[in-house]
């Protein structure tokens, strides 16, 4: 395994560990030494990968956006209808909420709720571009194919993402009576009806 | 006896079929034979697309078509405010187009026809220079669409005006050196054609040539003039000889299809009228042209002087317009109505190089449902009957030969592409 891959894997393991600790103990209570201890690496070595907690926080957002973006890109590249794509996107999102809850949780409870951490270096949507770009591609394709109604980007984006984020939030608060999975069909249908031509 | 002559280099071609009674021409059938159906091309297009399509009616007066289009579309909106700055700048670029057209007509059409060789080159410098002036405010020439509904796209700044003045001055210098050796300011005041004839320059040269060849009193028509497009310089109205009536109503304009020609005939209150620089000068009572008309009627002499001398008038007027521009004003005010939802009809009229240009549009939900263009050449070059001759026909009837007839024909500055659009 070459050196670059090793470094990349190490980065990802740090991010995973950090996400888990943020999830169980909270963002502000978790320190860099805590994360280093969990991984069994020295604090100094960790600082080689992320020179501060704030930088780590921003890199995590970029990373999670990238991961989610990659999944949505795979869906975008398929030659299927917008309606089918919506369902797959919802599924990917809900799956991630169930298998890697700390990731979506981080997005909702840290990124969206603690903007002050991200104001310098994550202006606007810079750090979530990996994800946003794929949603834009999805919308652009859908309108070009005559399947989605042409409208302002944000009104469509807000509807789609606000809805998904809201469902995941409710699930995190243990308010939803059933597993997220069982809502995929209805949620997808609602989104499709709202956005279609 | 009947003869046919193909007339070319008139922004296209036309065929003149001459009938003779003895030695004199007693009828001319004027036939334009190719149309491009622009009025059709415009159908079902969004309104603003007309601003891009319509300059392509013509390569030498396309800018007038642009402005008539903008005006017709603006006429569809009640209470639209056009900023004064935009109005003035539009008049400037239109003036410039007229000026370059007249230089081209004089040096590339008229002088070669009178036998002067290699003089056509002289048109290039002044027309290139004034085209730079158009480009300064309109982006490029030919074929810009800088006039839009609500104003113009360009901001136009202090240094743009400085540049415009320099370019105009270059053209003035050329005019005063080559075309007519007199200061253009003096020309404005001049009320005696003989004074003009006493000067040097290509215009007096041509006029003397006409006199020497006994051509100067030829080409008289009905002595009836009409101008629809008023601006800060031109005055609208009609003139029967020198009797002016100011009020005009476009409802009296009739467009009549023609048997042989692809160009339709135009009448006002069932009569044929002349349009163009001579008409404009008669309505404005320009001293020099008044005198020419008094002495030579509506002959080719008056027609040539009127067109050639419109150049210095417009150069002077343009300088005056520049001084009136308030750069603090906006160039564009967004109309209160969304054009893509607009329904209604509008008429846009401007004075193009060759005379009055009229555009009529009918919009439904922002889409063009009908578009009519009436060009100046349609007024002058109608194809009437022997009993009811149109303007140029009347001017040619009674002449001895085709070459002279071609000269008379071309003093109307014919635009074949416009006529058949």
């Amino acid at each position: 395994m070459d050196k670059l891959d090793k470094k990349q894997l190490k980065r990802e393991s740090i991010i995973q560990a950090a996400l888990q600790l943020f999830s169980t103990n909270g963002f502000y209570k978790t320190t860099i030494p805590d994360i280093a201890k969990k991984l069994g690496m020295s604090v100094g070595n960790l600082y080689n990968y992320f020179s501060s907690k704030d930088i780590l926080a921003k890199e995590i957002i970029k990373y999670t956006s990238q991961v989610l973006g990659e999944e949505i890109k795979k869906i975008n590249m398929q030659d299927i209808s917008s309606r089918d794509k919506i369902k797959l996107i919802v599924k990917v999102y809900f799956d991630m909420a169930q298998t890697k809850p700390e990731m979506i949780e981080y997005f909702l409870r840290v990124y969206l709720s603690h903007r002050e951490v991200f104001s310098d270096g994550c202006e606007g949507m810079v750090c979530v571009s990996g994800f946003i770009t794929e949603i834009m591609i999805f919308f652009d394709d859908g309108v070009a194919r005559g399947e989605l109604r042409n409208q302002d980007f944000f009104s469509a984006f807000g509807l789609f993402m606000g809805y998904l984020g809201g469902m995941v939030f409710l699930q995190g608060e243990e308010i939803l009576p059933q597993e997220l999975d069982s809502y995929i069909d209805d949620v997808s249908f609602n989104i499709y009806k709202a956005l279609s031509v | 006896m009947k003869t046919i002559q193909l007339i070319e280099k008139i922004e296209g071609e036309a065929t003149l079929k001459f009938s003779y009674n003895g030695v004199k021409i007693d009828f001319v059938d004027i036939e334009f034979f190719n149309t491009r159906n622009i009025e059709n091309i415009l159908l079902n297009k969004p309104a603003l697309d007309a601003l891009v399509i319509n300059p392509r009616v013509c390569g030498v007066c396309g800018h007038a078509h642009l402005q008539a289009t903008a005006k017709a579309l603006e006429d569809c909106i009640d209470g639209l405010t056009l900023p004064n700055k935009a109005k003035i700048i539009r008049e400037l670029s239109l003036n410039f187009e007229i000026i370059q057209n007249h230089f081209k007509w004089f040096y590339m059409t008229i002088m070669p026809l009178l036998g002067y060789k290699d003089v056509y080159i002289k048109a290039l410098y002044p027309s290139q220079t004034i085209n730079k002036a158009i480009a300064t405010i309109a982006g490029q020439y030919p074929h810009n669409s800088y006039a839009i509904v609500g104003g113009i796209v360009s901001e136009v700044t202090t240094m743009d005006l400085v540049r415009l003045k320099s370019l105009i001055d270059e053209v003035v210098e050329f005019f005063e050196k080559e075309v007519l050796q007199s200061s253009i300011a003096n020309l404005q005041e001049c009320d005696n054609v003989d004074l003009l004839l006493s000067r040097d320059g290509d215009v007096p040269k041509v006029l003397h040539h006409l006199k020497n060849q006994n051509l100067y009193s030829l080409g008289k028509s009905y002595d009836r003039f009409i101008v629809f497009g008023s601006s800060s310089y031109f005055e609208s109205g009609k003139s029967n000889k020198t009797r002016v009536t100011k009020s005009l109503d476009t409802k009296y304009i009739k467009e009549i299809p023609n048997q042989t020609s692809k160009a339709k005939n135009i009448t006002y209150k069932d009569k044929y009228f002349e349009v163009g620089p001579l008409s404009r000068a008669m309505l404005k009572k320009t001293p020099l042209i008044k005198d020419a008309h008094r002495k030579y009627g509506d002959s080719i002499f008056s027609r040539i002087i009127a067109r050639a001398c419109e150049i210095p008038q417009l150069l002077l007027h343009s300088k005056d317009l520049i001084s009136q521009i308030d750069l603090n004003e906006p160039s564009y005010i967004e109309p209160s109505v969304e054009i893509s939802h607009l329904s209604g009809t509008g008429v846009g009229i401007v004075e193009a190089a060759r005379g009055s240009l009229i555009h009529k549009v009918n919009l439904q939900n922002g889409i063009i449902k009908d578009y009519q263009i009436i060009t100046p050449t349609q007024w002058n070059l109608g194809n009437g009957t022997k009993e009811s001759l149109a303007i140029a026909q009347k001017a040619m009837v009674g002449l001895d030969d085709e070459h002279t007839a071609e000269l008379v024909f071309k003093t109307f500055d014919v635009c074949s592409v416009c006529t058949t659009h």
Binding site: A156 | Q140, P142, V153
Partner: protein
């Protein structure tokens, strides 16, 4: 030394290209090197009637306007005249978008009206035998320098690199976007352009096609002075095969995303870049320049 003979043949046209050519700054010396066997405006050796009825010598045929077998002058089909002279000519230059792609006047009502080899971006194969000696100069109208300099290159047998539509790459490899003075507003995605202002980029809202239109408008400038986009008018894509498209002053957007991307830029790349630059506000670009 005899001059290179040019035959300017006007078909279904507005003469815009002929008039644009008159703005060539070095036209006087040009006329020392070239002879117009026929030109619709300039003095030429022969009359139109002579050109149509006789077989005269010409080195380069210049075709202006869309063509159709149905369009004729003096009852002679324009395509017959064209083919007659094209056969023995060294080169055929299509002057303008109508002659190249059909342009505006392919819709003028003549049967099968088209450009010399193309209807929009499709080859119609009617005159394939002429393809190897065709050079296309699209534009509505053409820039005079582009035409004149190409003619010199042909006359002097200089090697010309041509694109897939036979357009001279040296002029048409650039996009109209190259050299526009509003570029910074494009670079930093400042999308608040208003008509009548010298600031702002027209790509986002006002239909500017410059980033995906090939031409040298902002490299050579028009009338040695200006260009549409510098002046605040969106580029209408007049040198491209599908000119005119429609809604020419409005950018087609899908959920706020421009439908047409700059030449060669894929949507993901554009959107990622846009996402980054839109996050930052550059004060100088948000204000009046002066």
């Amino acid at each position: 030394m005899s001059k290179c003979k040019l035959l300017w043949l006007t078909s279904i046209s507005c003469n815009g290209n002929a008039h644009s050519f008159l703005n060539y700054p070095h036209i006087q010396t040009f006329l020392n090197d070239f002879e117009f066997v026929y030109h619709p405006i300039l003095e030429s050796t022969y009359t139109l009637q002579e050109i149509l009825e006789q077989e005269l010598k010409c080195d380069i045929v210049l075709l202006e306007g869309a063509i159709s077998q149905e369009f004729s002058k003096l009852d002679i089909s324009i395509t017959d005249t064209l083919l007659r002279y094209a056969k023995s000519a060294k080169a055929i230059v299509t002057v303008g978008t109508c002659a190249t792609f059909g342009g505006i006047f392919k819709d003028s009502g003549y049967s099968n009206a088209s450009g010399l080899h193309y209807i929009k971006d499709t080859k119609h194969h009617r005159y394939d035998e002429l393809l190897s000696k065709t050079v296309s100069i699209s534009g509505c109208p053409v820039q005079p320098e582009v035409l004149a300099e190409t003619l010199y290159a042909i006359k002097d047998d200089m090697a010309l690199k041509l694109d897939e539509y036979q357009r001279v790459k040296e002029f048409f490899a650039y996009t109209v976007h190259n050299g526009c003075i509003r570029n910074e507003y494009f670079e930093y995605k400042v999308d608040n352009h208003q008509f009548g202002e010298k600031e702002g980029c027209m790509f986002y809202d006002h239909g500017c096609q410059a980033p995906f239109t090939r031409g040298s408008c902002n490299k050579l400038l028009w009338n040695e002075t200006n260009s549409k986009t510098r002046n605040g008018e969106p580029c209408h894509g007049c040198s491209e095969p599908n000119f005119p498209t429609t809604n020419l002053y409005k950018t087609q957007k899908n959920m706020g995303i421009p439908q047409n991307m700059p030449l060669g830029v894929n949507k993901r790349a554009y959107l990622t870049l846009a996402g980054v630059t839109k996050a930052f506000k550059i004060k100088r670009l948000e204000e009046d320049l002066f």
